[in-house]
């Protein structure tokens, strides 16, 4: 029967892969920010002849830049979080803070995208907002579990 718990080197590789993926996502975000106007044009390729197209284009571009800022903040916190996990500092207050920041970034994206999707009548933006809200909820649950674990670890460290 295979061992369900990965070995130390396997764990390190997994964390290194996660960190690499986070960096890749950062680069993708950077490229998307650079190609913002083209991406907006591609997303709105079916919306032709509308008088409000310029407004829609501007709104979507602004929304994209705001979400990019939140994505960078999320990825930065995630990268630092993974770095601490790799160094063995798992249940530490800094990780709880990182998860708290990530959850607020996701919530921010949800608050921006959900009403904007409705206002601009763009279903994919609305769906993105809902997904971000769901992600914020999941990260918040994990954050609360981490907070509890930090308290338990503190108590265990002071048990003689």
């Amino acid at each position: 029967m295979p061992n369900p718990t990965p070995s130390r080197s396997g764990r390190d590789k997994s964390i290194a892969l996660s960190q690499f993926s986070t960096l890749c996502m950062g680069i993708i975000c950077l490229i998307m920010v650079g190609c913002g106007p083209q991406l907006v044009g591609w997303a709105l390729r079916d919306y032709t002849g509308s008088a409000a197209l310029a407004l829609l284009r501007g709104g979507l571009l602004g929304l994209g830049y705001l979400c990019a800022a939140l994505a960078f903040a999320t990825l930065y916190n995630l990268y630092r979080f993974l770095g601490r996990v790799q160094s063995g500092a798992v249940f530490v207050p800094a990780n709880v803070t990182a998860l708290w920041r990530i959850s607020w970034c996701c919530a921010g994206a949800a608050f921006l995208c959900t009403p904007a999707g409705l206002l601009l009548r763009l279903p994919f933006v609305f769906s993105l907002g809902l997904c971000a809200g769901f992600m914020a909820l999941i990260v918040r649950v994990i954050m609360n579990a981490f907070r509890q674990a930090v308290e338990m670890k503190d108590e265990l460290d002071l048990t003689v």
């Binding site: 503190d154 108590e155 002071l158 048990t159 003689v160």
Partner: protein, 72 residues
């Protein structure tokens, strides 16, 4: 925490140093220091048993309850 560990008194009575006691009890000097300075949040029965054995005393000689003063 209103529970105080009075180890200094017992250690002085038995003429035992912190390093020697830590070694006899089987805990690290750092953990003994945590215990002596009332920083501990919990004490294992096995540790308490070893302390009582080495210091030849009762748990009540080591632990003391002092009610916390509340401002009214």
């Amino acid at each position: 925490m209103p529970i105080y560990v009075n180890m200094d008194v017992m250690m002085a009575r038995r003429h035992v140093g912190a390093g020697e006691l830590a070694e006899k009890v089987g805990i690290t000097p750092a953990n003994l220091s945590i215990l002596k300075n009332n920083k501990a949040k919990a004490v294992r029965f096995s540790t308490l048993e070893a302390l009582c054995r080495e210091l030849d005393c009762q748990p009540g000689d080591l632990l003391e309850y002092r009610p916390e003063e509340t401002d009214r």
